[in-house]
């Protein structure tokens, strides 16, 4: 038994594969160094170049007509465009005419310059385009030499291809049906191998630097396209891990793909909105992957942690704009700074408090230091021009607080209007309902707020006066307590009366047994950790509104959390 060797790259196409390695090595293009002697020769070289380009275009077109996926065809369309590119032609002609290089050397040099230009771009996608340029350069060279690359022999089943990087033409001409994985030494998520692998559902690992030095043809390999792990000569233990992970992946993949594109609606077609709770713009990818329609709670705190001073307007603006751009015009609810004595910021004077949860936090800090709050509001407003934002104030406990925050917001809008800076004029402003008093005056708040978002975690601990981090009392913390349910119910009813939307962004929204109850209460917007979305959608599509209403009616008559939970569990298991 040979020793296990582990490599670590970047997972670029999820899934687990076991198979035999096949290495693809490429010949390097070597310059000839020939210098042309006269105009006759330069004309002949130009003619040879034009003919090679024409043949190359014909070849690529032929591959396009056989391409199986839109992605592959799109990549190749761009290649035809590059082959036709007047700038490349101008550069090659210049080398032939002025520098007296032959067509081969001119193409090699122009290609090298361009490959370097792209490779050094500070953008993952564009640096991956170096492969396109290299690919068309190689193709033209092949045609100049009248040399056609011999087709690769067919692969045996379960082949894992190992290459430095795969060019677009490699990825579409490869006989892919026996390929169970890709490992490349360079490249990343946007390289061709990754794009093709994802579109075909084949696991792939990129950036696996020394793979080709250690791995030989027919060596047994195990790869995980999610974690980026590659094992050479896997042992029994690893093969067991492989089986476990493959099972888990298949289960997750089946559920995801079945649910992702399914509309979020109850069994009897009442539409529901499913949103994610995010804290950074990078999480949008997984939000969309899990079928989220937008963001019900975007926590802006990350922008403020680990800084020496309060972040300036421009830095905040760029952070929010990134969110707007990544959201692809899906709705995003931004929560203004929500901090307190439990997670103080060095540059904000936060007194040490005996009771930080009942202290200086959330909107109280913002209203106490309006000069800082206004900077955040201005940056959010400026970024609102790029997306569909809603602004939400945390820890609202009275009408006055909400009015004061809205006044500052209106003041900042007026300021931007005067300075003729673009922003979304109709941006909704809402209140987070997490203080019991706010739930009790939801009828009053609903007349002045454009929406509500219920933070059930804080609402529950405030309503029950039980800290869920304190092991002595956390058994008292229970969102199914009739008192908490009545606060939520009241908030939903008040919002309905004024016809404003309400979402729940606390953990209750992703608690499977709570879903029918919340639907019955009238909740139509759920916001949670993106990974929980498919599971919750699965429950929603299996729940009918008539069942939900009867569960709601029965639950609201219960005298204790235990009774509520027992009703919910019973109906949950009926499914």
């Amino acid at each position: 038994m040979k020793k296990v060797i582990q490599f670590k790259g970047t997972g670029v196409s999820p899934g687990i594969s076991f198979g035999q390695a096949r290495l693809i090595r490429k010949n390097k293009n070597i310059a000839t160094g020939v210098l042309l002697r006269n105009e006759e020769e330069t004309d002949a070289e130009i003619e040879r170049y034009v003919a090679a380009v024409t043949r190359s275009i014909e070849e690529v077109r032929a591959i396009i007509s056989q391409a199986e996926s839109m992605e592959a065809a799109g990549i190749l369309e761009a290649q035809v465009e590059l082959l036709n590119d007047p700038q490349i032609e101008r550069d090659v002609f210049e080398k032939i005419r002025a520098e007296k290089k032959n067509a081969n050397d001119a193409v090699i040099e122009v290609t090298e310059t361009l490959v370097d230009l792209f490779r050094n771009m500070n953008d993952e996608y564009l640096s991956a385009r170096a492969a396109d340029v290299q690919d068309i350069g190689n193709r033209i060279l092949n045609n100049l030499n009248d040399f056609y690359q011999a087709a690769l022999e067919p692969f045996p089943a379960n082949t894992i291809l190992i290459a430095d990087d795969l060019t677009p033409s490699d990825t579409v001409t490869l006989d892919i049906k026996n390929i169970s994985g890709f490992v490349t030494q360079t490249g990343g998520k946007t390289s061709h191998a990754a794009i093709i692998a994802r579109s075909r559902g084949i696991p792939a690992v990129a950036g696996c630097i020394d793979a080709m030095q250690e791995i030989g043809d027919d060596d047994p390999l195990l790869i995980d396209g999610e974690t980026g792990e590659v094992w050479l000569h896997p042992d029994d233990e690893l093969m067991n891990l492989f089986t476990t992970r493959q099972g888990a992946f298949q289960k997750k993949y089946d559920l995801l793909s079945a649910l992702r594109d399914l509309p979020a609606q109850t069994h009897d077609a009442i539409p529901v909105h499913l949103y994610g709770n995010l804290g950074s713009a990078e999480e949008f990818n997984s939000l969309f992957e899990y079928g989220g329609e937008g963001v019900g709670l975007f926590r802006t705190e990350f922008l403020f942690f680990d800084k020496k001073t309060y972040p300036a307007e421009e830095g905040q603006f760029l952070f929010y704009r990134e969110i707007a751009l990544k959201s692809r015009q899906h709705p995003v609810t931004l929560r203004t700074l929500d901090i307190g004595g439990d997670k103080p910021l060095s540059y904000l004077s936060m007194p040490v408090e005996q009771n930080p949860f009942l202290g200086y936090r959330g909107i109280r800090v913002s209203l106490d230091q309006p000069e800082l709050f206004l900077v955040q509001l201005r940056a959010m407003l400026r970024a609102s021009a790029f997306g569909k934002f809603r602004i939400m104030f945390p820890m609202i406990s009275s009408l006055e607080e909400f009015r004061e925050a809205k006044k500052l917001f209106a003041q900042e809008k007026e300021e931007l209007r005067k300075r003729q800076i673009a922003f979304d004029e109709n941006i909704p402003v809402g209140a987070m309902i997490e203080v019991p008093a706010a739930a009790m005056i939801a009828d009053l708040l609903a007349k002045e707020a454009d929406f509500f978002s219920i933070g059930t975690n804080d609402l529950c601990q405030y309503a029950l006066a039980a800290d869920r981090m304190n092991s002595k009392v956390n058994s008292l913390y229970n969102p199914f307590h009739p008192g908490v349910l009545r606060l939520i119910d009241r908030t939903l009813a008040a919002a309905k009366q004024q016809n404003i939307p309400v979402s729940i962004c606390g953990e209750l929204a992703s608690e499977p047994i709570a879903i029918p109850l919340l639907l019955g209460m009238g909740l139509r917007e759920f916001s949670m950790n993106p990974a929980a979305l498919p599971g919750i959608k699965n429950i929603i599509v299996h729940t009918s509104m008539s069942d939900a209403r009867s569960i709601y009616t029965r639950a609201m008559q219960c005298g204790s959390a235990a009774e509520v939970i027992s009703i919910l569990n019973q109906t949950h298991h009926d499914h």
């Binding site: 990549i75 007047p86 953008d123 751009l325 015009q329 790029f386």
Partner: protein, 88 residues
């Protein structure tokens, strides 16, 4: 001559697919159409030149159209940046 400023709204900027569409669109007009970013101006006849500008989401660019059909060309470019780009 018509000059208009646009902000790139797609998060990934102008990649191969939208750039290809832009070159094809520019080719339909007689006018010279070019794109300018930070003082660097390139003709829209070259996909390579557009990609080499490295346009990212949020970047501002100027489009300059000059020629007999510049009004129609500018209209089509307008449509491209305001509508089509979202779907590419």
């Amino acid at each position: 001559m018509i000059t208009k400023t646009y902000t790139i709204l797609s998060p990934e900027g102008i990649h191969a697919r939208p750039a290809t569409a832009l070159v094809k669109l520019a080719r339909q007009y007689e006018s010279d159409i070019s794109m300018r970013k930070n003082g660097k101006q390139v003709k829209l006849d070259s996909l390579l030149n557009i990609l080499a500008l490295g346009l990212k989401g949020g970047d501002k660019i100027d489009i300059v159209a000059e020629g007999s059909d510049e009004t129609q060309a500018a209209g089509a470019i307008d449509q491209f940046f305001n509508e089509q780009l979202k779907h590419l």
